[in-house]
Amino acid sequence: PAHSQANEDTLQQRLQALIECARESWTYAVFWQLSYDFAAGEDDGGGNSSNTPLLAWGDGYYKGEEEKPMKKKPTPISAAEQEHRKRVVRELNSLISGGGGGTVNGGDEAGDEEVTDTEWFFLVSMTQSFINGSGLPGQAFSNSQTIWLSGSNALAGSSCERARQGQVYGLETMVCIPTENGVVELGSSEIIHQNSDLMDKVNSFFNPSNGG
């Protein structure tokens, strides 16, 4: 357990370093961890189940968006949708705090404040996983190739549901970089053009054989 705890902590530190040390303004970073879904495998009749490789939530770091006065605001959501998001955040606060109706750190501000589109996208992402080859992370991993989508047209026109969903929630750039045991995904509400600096950092931080 101590070793597992250390792995989780360093994973969080690597995601944070990736974003905080970058020249560009990234909104979030997620590590999709390669794992195996034994439940989804088919029983061969002899009690032996095959297993299906999938990319599941490993960890994530949400930085948020920079406030820019001239920035185009996404289409406002309905009051009902905003209330739904707030209710979910309040319930999650309660869940994390032990179900006693309290909130993280005892405060209740977090449940009353508006939940932004990118916060909601990040939260929803925690519930997702991708079979190898499917979705943005799955395609990046199975082809061992970085996928870099910048501009809302590129996201909206993608064949991947996740990219289209990201565009709806105000993202302008989504990147998936494959590593030895998963995929690093970054998203930004700004247009960020492809650069090797980010890919070099991911390669260095997330590939153990490179000393990462």
Partner: protein, 31 residues
């Protein structure tokens, strides 16, 4: 609650704590 995988639970906890910090730091009532 018991079905929430530990990685997601920890990420969720971090996200909610940082969100609260951001809200408090940008609040007009913040000291």
């Amino acid at each position: 609650e018991g079905d929430l995988p530990i990685a997601r639970r920890k990420s969720l906890q971090r996200f909610l704590e940082k969100r609260k910090e951001r809200i408090v730091s940008t609040s007009p009532y913040s000291p």
